[in-house]
Symmetry: D2
């Protein structure tokens, strides 16, 4: 992650000018404000703004005049109750605004989460920088042989090298031609909105992304999950670290009831009851398909 001196100065200026406010304030989050947290080779996530804290959740759940309860343990208990029983609206009362720099193919997955506000850097209007995601050697994985939508072993030796060379060289050449096409020296210069089409999906873009806590946790549950593509998971992991400092009660409940939890089907619940009653349940007697049974076994491992 390379910031220009001007960008560093902008960030330092923002961190150097505190103001007084009467709003709910999260000390844990104030420490993160504006600081870019590096992700992948050139990307980052940084907090631009936040609204609310743990007590903002209980305050809304109670539609109260003051700030939550007097008692901290009551607040955590209520937050856990709300999370457990899928009362999601109080979590929507907190809001987070991030500035993210990320490869285009990651951005394309990310944007599928529709309940959020987005302002992306415009390649119709502006010129993109020469920055591309080139995987580190150890995240250069083969296609999974068991899962059409997953990765297998790490690529080795000459094959790994060949891949990295292709990714690097093709990106550089595409960018050279991009620059050449939009240049107005001695020629008309192609429109930016057209020239950008030559750039590969590992080029970096940036956006401001704003989302409420309920929808953010839903995003994190899917994208910090082990089945998510590595390149978006590292962004989700970085955001998890921030959320933990921002709303520690809500984050702990999220870990217990969502990230660390599981969904049981009717058949799976029935099997567990029978197993607890001493029955030796097999796939054949489980009422589950082979795929479901495999997932069920993995859950109990």
């Amino acid at each position: 992650m390379n910031l220009t001196d001007e960008q560093k100065a902008d960030i330092a200026a923002l961190r150097a000018t505190p103001a007084q406010t009467l709003r709910a304030t999260s000390e844990g989050m104030e420490r993160h404000l504006y600081e870019p947290k590096p992700v992948l080779d050139h990307g980052f996530v940084r907090v631009i703004d936040y609204m609310g804290d743990d007590t903002a959740i209980t305050q809304a759940a109670r539609v109260s005049y003051g700030r939550g309860t007097k008692s901290v343990s009551n607040d955590e208990g209520l937050i856990r109750y709300l999370m457990r029983h899928w009362h999601s609206t109080p979590f929507e009362m907190c809001e987070l605004k991030l500035h993210v720099k990320l490869p285009v193919f990651v951005a394309r997955q990310w944007i599928r989460h529709r309940t959020a506000n987005v302002n992306e850097y415009s390649a119709r209007y502006s010129i993109l920088d020469r920055e591309f995601y080139i995987p580190a050697q150890d995240s250069l994985a083969a296609q999974s042989t068991t899962n059409n939508q997953g990765r297998g072993d790490t690529l080795q030796g000459a094959e790994a090298e060949r891949v990295l060379n292709y990714l690097r060289d093709d990106a550089m050449r595409a960018y050279d031609h991009y620059e050449e096409m939009i240049s107005t020296e001695g020629q008309q210069g192609l429109a930016r909105e057209l020239a950008r089409m030559n750039l590969p999906a590992n080029i970096y873009t940036q956006w401001y992304w704003k989302v409420d806590l309920h929808n953010l946790l839903h995003f994190l549950r899917l994208r910090a999950d082990s089945h998510a593509q590595y390149e978006i998971r590292v962004y989700a992991d970085a955001i998890c670290e921030m959320v933990k400092d921002w709303v520690p009660f809500a984050y702990r409940a999220f870990e217990d009831y969502r990230m660390g939890g599981e969904n049981l089907s009717a058949a799976a619940l029935d099997c567990i009851k029978r197993m607890l009653a001493g029955e030796d349940v097999t796939q054949e007697t489980s009422g589950m398909s082979k795929g479901e049974w495999r997932e069920f076994q993995a859950m109990l491992d």
Copy 2:
């Protein structure tokens, strides 16, 4: 608007405990925080939290590292440009959280705006207060004779008195019975979730309502409009006063391009061109229906 002493103390406590923050802060909005602004006979609107200010809009439009531009005039110019050209996403980067006390029939209109977060006081869980909206004499209007969805003249004399008596007496009796039905003295006591069905639509409810600035301005354009029902318009008007202090550039642009503006149809635009060229256009030659022509004439008045 009657607050209990405890509620007043809660509000005073919140206003007495400023904190330091690195976030964008709006001085104009800090003055409004937590203070209930009275609306109708028992209602209010108060700001619970806000995110962003005018520069947060330009900052997002530019996906910038620092806070907007150095130049205030540039910021206002850009905001006006964005508003004029319906670039709505930068306005979504500001967020407002309100606590509103309002009659149920107003709440039913309000909730039709779906892009917002809501936590309403639960009459399944809690007991509602004995507070009903009784219109002031001068907002007690007859049905419009020209518009099925509007009001005509103010009711006079005995009729007005009769209406007020009905509204008052029916509300009081309904509440007496509500209380009696849920009472557990000497009886089982009806479930709250059932007893509430006896209460009329002028009873007050409350909610926390959180919305981004773009959707808020859309709400205000429809609800602060002269065609909106008076009882929701006064809430919209109260919120306008807050928004004006919060994001003065955006609010001014909103007044110029939305509230004070008009939508021209293709036919209306054609008529204006012909009129400017000296033609004497009539409804018959306008290409508009009678209703459209009437609205067109009213616009040019």
Copy 3:
């Protein structure tokens, strides 16, 4: 449920005029079209239109040129896989449009589901009918003594009678006054948008409600649940019957993975593993609060 002769004739006319279409068609749903299914004392649900069927789900999941797969068992297997792994977007490719007549206090819960399209009968514009929900004797329940948000035993004898009398008499009186206030005989006549405020929350309203299958199933999971208020649950139950005939594969998967399933927290999963390994886990050693432990025990019963 009382329909006028004109309404019956309208419905009969719609059912008597089939047309040819090239669209995906669900025979099971065609049988439901337009027919009102009675709910509560005066309410109903009826299907106005639908888009898609089970194969529309797999067709979208595969972004295919034809209609799903050739093989029915493949289609069901894929639908179950999608449901199990929370791949929700293919379910959004089916859409349902309902006409619902329901009490206002039920409508107020229902509308909290924001991802849907709604057109409600306007009491600003039109006059409401004299129809109120009066609970049947056996759904007249006392407040629960253990759950602030629930019902206990059925009300008995004189208390039940008193409650029914209040509900009936207050509704009739409120409606008499409503009619009297808007009457223009010998007086100006109060505006409808004001007069409606006198009407209690058990009056019936109606709306067109349109929603995609994913969001509909989410609605049904919450509202057909045993914790939902009885008066909205009967609507959800009626809709379940329709969905079962419309998209039988999706509905069966929904029953297995959502309605009949459970969410396990990290702590609950850990307890199950320990119990299966022979440990005698108690609340004290479970890592759960008393409330969680109670819910956990109930799940395993």
Copy 4:
């Protein structure tokens, strides 16, 4: 646009198997069903399904039991009234499902419209085809010299040829390397989710896109506009042709009140009044900035 024989057979099969339905049916739209309408060099739009017709709009606006009014002219008049007064919910009662093949850089603009349902062909799971958008000679435009976000003149001669060669050669080379990297012949084979990052933004993707009529018209207003990028505008134009045949009344109202209409600011309205009263208004006396005045003049041309 090249379809395989299998794809052609799938489409023919769908068009050869009509079914009976009681649903509202649009003859104009039945003709479009399934047939791909070519857009750009390899793209298309085709209708997969639709819900509702013009009368479905008025039916919802009236919350009626039957199908709209008896009178066609009443239906059109009401639709025009609804459009003119921004009563958008009845238009949400119609729904359209499209299958679109489009370049990735167009898909990235398109997806910004969030109120829609999307299933995109997955390049994590599947292998993309070797199909790239290469602009026709006459849509190869230079960067606008007056508008940072627009196009100027068409590129000429050697420069045009150079650009086309770059676009073609870089795409082919990137695809060659993509194929080579994922190949498992004599090597492990890179995961698809990684290999796709080498592909430029002019590669074609496909998706199913489902949207209600209100949001579709909003999309068309922005994307069929002369300021939209040409490559998305041609898709919007193709959809306009379909909508015109599907809901002719709604489409005509859309043309009159939205596409052919204009938004007047308060200042612009004031200028028009003064001009109609005979005043010679200039930019200096208009109260508008130079940019606004220029746009105002263009509107009246």
